[in-house]
């Protein structure tokens, strides 16, 4: 049932799995769904697991169900209804006249016409199709026959909700999500026993107690903690603008991850010179020399940037893109100092690998092992960070 809907959902990149589909089938089989309205919400609750996909769901729902409540389908039901002579008995003389004056085709044409004209749900009245009216179509009306068009009350509604596409703004076609980045960064972890001896060493206690002829002898040990320290340096602004989203995901993954003993981050623009900055606006400066003095070489260094710039920015004295930086030492030498200081470093480049032939990218990648900022690239980079270069 509805199997095509499953594929339409998948076509629209809603990550629906068979497990969820079977759950929906179970719900259907148990008779929990009575009309299209309920189907819309229940199928969404069961199949879609993030509001980010609600919009794609709406699109798929429209594609699949647009046809279902089409006038043709309803017309068929009207035909069925009219075939029953008992029903016809309930029609008023006026309606009889109306019905008799038209053959079925005309009648259906009339119905379709009214359906097309009608834009919103309608209650009352003598012409529109809806509820509580005197029109021969619709349901629960004053009309003695009150033709109820099955599933009508809900069906149109659900497709309409889908048409509204209220969840457009929640959509996020992500290449990498925060969780995936978090999982990749987790591999950096190095567990060491540190701190107070506050964990009971069960094995040790048993051994010691046995040695002690059964008299209890508790052995305590230090608990295992992650000793990894991470330093994240990010290129912001300018050519990095298109990757701002990706970089902020990487940042939030690293930041929310509780696995690091210490996590520090600084920003730069295009290349690193005398100063790094604590904020994206690059107002609060920290001297690079100071950082190299205070951060031990065992910080794992993650540089993020496209490494594309004018060659002079890298090689010339006073080459910094910001004229007032007046760097006495060319950028490439600063980068070399950094690369020499930290024992583990990698450069993540969000740019398309086609552009890596650029001269400055080539120069920088000779200093730092460079990986693309994709899930696969990140995993390789983390692998590189774990071992000494």
């Amino acid at each position: 049932m509805f199997t095509d809907f499953f594929y339409i959902l998948r076509q629209n990149k809603v990550p629906v799995s068979l497990v969820e589909w079977m759950t929906l089938m179970e719900a259907l089989a148990k008779g929990h769904i009575h009309n299209l309205d309920e189907f819309y919400f229940l199928a969404r609750a069961i199949l879609v697991k993030s509001e980010a996909y609600y919009d794609q769901y709406d699109v798929a729902f429209q594609q699949y169900f647009q046809g279902v409540e089409s006038p043709e389908k309803i017309a068929e039901q009207v035909l069925e209804w009219l075939k029953d002579p008992l029903n016809r008995m309930f029609l008023s003389e006026e309606d009889h006249a109306l019905f008799n004056s038209m053959d079925f085709d005309q009648l259906i044409e009339e119905l379709e016409k009214r359906l097309r004209e009608q834009m919103e749900q309608h209650d009352g009245g003598g012409y529109w199709i809806g509820r509580g009216g005197t029109s021969p179509f619709g349901h629960s009306g004053y009309h003695p026959a009150g033709i109820r068009i099955g599933g009508w009350s809900g069906g149109r509604h659900a497709v309409q909700i889908a048409q509204e596409r209220r969840f457009k703004n929640y959509r996020s076609d992500l290449t990498l999500d925060v969780r995936q980045i978090g999982m990749a960064l987790k591999k950096l972890r190095q567990l060491r026993r540190t701190g107070h001896e506050d964990e009971l060493d069960l094995e040790g206690t048993i051994k010691a107690t046995a040695k002690n002829a059964g008299d209890l002898d508790f052995i305590w040990q230090r608990s295992r903690k992650n000793t990894v320290k991470l330093l994240l340096l990010m290129d912001v602004g300018g050519s990095m603008e298109p990757f701002a989203m990706l970089c902020s995901q990487l940042f939030s993954a690293a930041h929310s991850s509780s696995h690091f003993k210490d996590f520090q981050y600084y920003y730069f623009h295009n290349c690193i010179y005398d100063n790094l900055y604590r904020d994206i606006e690059r107002e609060e400066a920290v001297s690079t020399v100071h950082l190299l003095h205070t951060l031990e070489p065992d910080y794992k260094l993650l540089l993020v940037g496209d490494a594309r710039m004018g060659p002079w920015e890298l090689t010339e004295r006073y080459g910094a893109i910001n004229y007032y930086e007046r760097n006495e030492i060319p950028g490439i030498l600063w980068l070399k100092r950094i690369a020499d200081h930290f024992s583990h470093c990698v450069w993540l480049n969000p740019d398309d690998q086609r552009f890596w032939v650029h001269a400055t990218v080539q120069m920088i990648s000779r200093l730092f092992p460079m990986y693309p900022l994709t899930l696969e690239g990140l995993e390789r980079a983390v692998g590189k960070l774990v071992v000494k270069k």
């Binding site: 919400f41 609750a45 609600y54 508790f218």
Partner: protein, 278 residues
Amino acid sequence: MKKDSFNQFSGSEDYVTSEPLRNAVNVSIALGRPLLVRGEAGTGKTLLAHSIARGLEKKLITWNIKSTTKAQEGLYVYDTVQRLNDSRFGDKDIADIKQYIKLGKLGQAFTSPELVVLLIDEVDKADIEFPNDLLNELDEMSFYIPETNETVSAIHRPITVITSNAEKELPDAFLRRCIFHYIEFPTPELMEEIVRVHFPDIKDNLLGEALKAFYSLREIDDFRKKPSTSELIDWIRALIAGGIPHENVSKQIPFIGTLLKKETDYDYFVRNFATRRW
């Protein structure tokens, strides 16, 4: 299953729900699967579980998740240190391991003789692997205690509500097993209903003015934290208590501190809007 046994939850007196949410709750009850609720802060995710418990007259067991919470703690804790200690000084029978097994919240929900509502609050606070560690337990609604060679299985599958603030992404395998509902921010109509539940005697013009001011505040995107339902309720309480005449409400926005909780937001508002009015 009959239709009436399906439509169990229909909201409770003090909690207004939308129909999609009620349906999601009921289908999760009927299928015996956990309901994962997400939504903006202050839209009543946690209150939902309380409301289900009250509406169905069931006991509520709450498991608050913290960053240090381990999945195992929800099942049971084997108090080995106590047992070791007892073996030396205690007069208890230490051969009876059972007395050192303390059931966690999940364990309590499983062993409860009656159907309970289990709330796992803020599941995304815990370690990234936490939800995966609970997969099987939530699926089978049972777990095994090797120490006593016992299997604890649910007498009644608890009605499970899990809330998340999307601080961390949840694993797919976990999501597949849940029914998901995103609580949207209430429309002004629904909000009116919600406010009336809390203040049945509120005057129409006061309510109208308050909602007008509230929704226009929410349209300002520069706030770090937009005011939400719970702030609105507090604010209206303050307005009523202060006897503020309704015509002053949207003009002056008195007691703005109850709506804007962050200092930066407050400053921003005072700087950009409050001064402009006079």
